[in-house]
Point group: C2
Chain length 353, copies 2
């Protein structure tokens, strides 16, 4: 099957780019020091490739992700980096010895839920500045005591500097990572344990305080992270077909829209083009600034690469990833090489909850 | 199963609201005059209920939707209101007599694709002001001739005033609908045929020029459409669980995020609360303006209704709809009645492409 033959819209992975991204990350965070975040890609086939590179511990955001990873034989060390109250399905995995499961807790309620369900290991989740889950740093020691009193093993702490990872200014990113990790360090001193888990793709080389990095986006990247100038390359596009053009108004329409693109980070990019807007199943795009429509070589039937602004929710909208060996087109124009062979298909098998 | 027992996040349908919405719409657009747009809900179970109310012709946005509707026995009159070049799967349905299939065309290429694939019926898609698919009105007659010369039956025209349906000002919506439909009328005069298809939930009572209304959002509505003051009620929420609270900063976190909410129309609403932001699996929300956190009765473990800004891409992220008989909570506070019984489950079986 060539890219020309794929029904569109379709997710396409540049395997060369993926491998390069994993190698770059693995040089800094080898083996278990990297705990890849499954939420970014939701595919056990992709996760198997990370495990083959030595990264055998994973981070999950949902119970379904934990269950799917365990079922795929990737349950050596699964951290559910999120709070849950319905921990029964996690306890079932532990009892069946299907996976080593550690869950984040940040309250008496989540500690009680983990203990009641038969989960044995937890991390104390610490708020390091992102207004989301995580206890106040000053409460971490008390919660750790409470967890231990409930029979749980406290492996350490986690704290995600999600308010920092996307900052455009590297100096600000550096400073604020230090501030956030000082809070995590304070909590760790009170909690104990071997694990200090945190970080993300945007702070991968700035966060020197953690024992393991929770990053996922680096694998395939997206246009939002690409703006930070990181040494990872976008390796995932939504392949589309140009289904309509309008010479009068000067635009083209591809069959890639809100249903195949996560839109929370804004519009996607199309190389050699200006994106006008997206609707349910369409992206309307025109020539780049300075190019007349008549000089713009986009025609009905062309295949185009639409680069998502945020890979995580984009992948969650699709059933599979189609893998090609090399780069996705030359990135010098809107259209791509339709003769590229699809060498593998990776199911997106960790969707839903 | 009660709402308290559903794993979250979960889509919940207020069946009473759905039935009321369908009844209101059916009074104005009875039987085949309403061609419900499947893209809004992607569920053949929901479509069966519309068919039982006499609306047996449907509008689809993807080939997968057409195939799924045909397989569910709902193929009496399916319009793919979108341009396709890979029409082979549609032709296969026609040859197998699995459905009556009509496809939108707006170019020589899409006409040729339909004819080559064995699709027999088309509508000429006309651009009435939204920069997306559709030919210039002045080209419609020529394209109809071309389609007929290729052996296709031209049933008429379609033109979607998508740039108008969401306008907040009703007078502007009325005026611009008239302008758009004048263009469609001009095209129809040149094309001929019985069908003039268009409109949407936002122009349901303003568009008096069409023979059939293509509306889908009215079934379950969303917060964006609800701002227009239409006589339809929001009947779909994402049920979430409060998994964390922070008394220091004054917020709560529900397990509903970008992965379970279409975000192109912005943040969701939570009744009796102010939404701060969404991340992959979380919505952070605080008390409404004027209420102190200490007076706000949201606790870890509570179930909350998160109302999506746009139902179409929200539903596309889920595997099923859980149906309750009555309204989703009193809409007077953030929390809902956890004892409400789930009376039915409708698979979202028309996802992907």
């Amino acid at each position: 099957v060539r890219l020309a033959d794929l029904p569109t819209p379709a997710l396409v992975v540049d395997h060369e780019g993926f491998r390069a991204n994993v190698a770059t990350m693995g040089d800094r965070w080898p083996g278990a020091a990297l705990r890849p975040h499954v939420k970014a890609f939701k595919s056990t086939a992709l996760a198997h490739q990370l495990a083959a590179s030595g990264h055998t511990g994973f981070c999950c955001a949902t119970i379904r992700e934990v269950e799917g990873m365990a079922a795929a034989g990737l349950g050596a060390d699964l951290l559910l980096a999120n709070e849950v109250l319905d921990a029964g399905r996690l306890g079932a995995l532990v009892r069946a010895d299907a996976a080593r499961v550690t869950v984040a807790v940040d309250s008496p309620e989540t500690i009680a839920a983990a203990a009641a369900a038969g989960v044995r290991e937890v991390l104390i989740d610490v708020n390091v500045g992102l207004p989301r889950c995580g206890c106040d740093p000053g409460d971490a020691g008390r919660l750790a005591d409470e967890a231990r009193a409930a029979g749980l093993t406290v492996r350490g702490v986690m704290g995600y500097e999600g308010h920092v990872v996307g900052l455009a200014d590297r100096a600000a990113r550096t400073d604020q990572t230090a501030t956030a990790m000082a809070l995590l360090g304070e909590a760790h001193a009170a909690v104990g344990g071997d694990v200090v888990s945190g970080g993300g793709t945007g702070t991968w080389d700035l966060n020197t305080w953690i024992t393991e990095l929770q990053a996922g986006s680096f694998t395939l990247l997206d246009t939002a992270y690409d703006e930070l100038g990181l040494p990872f390359r976008p390796a995932l596009c939504v392949l589309g077909t140009v289904i309509s053009t309008n010479a009068t108004a000067g635009y083209a329409v591809a069959d890639v829209g809100l249903k195949s693109l996560g839109m929370d980070h804004g519009n996607p990019l199309v190389d050699g083009a200006t994106v006008w807007f997206c609707s349910d199943e369409h992206t309307t795009f025109g020539p780049p600034r300075g190019t007349a429509y008549g000089d713009w070589p986009v025609r009905v039937g062309d295949r185009v690469a639409v680069w998502p602004a945020h890979i995580d929710p984009t992948i969650a909208l699709h059933a599979q990833l189609s893998v090609i060996d090399g780069p996705i087109g030359p990135r010098t124009g809107a259209t791509i090489d339709p003769t590229a062979e699809v060498v593998d298909t990776w199911p997106v098998d960790l969707r839903n909850w």
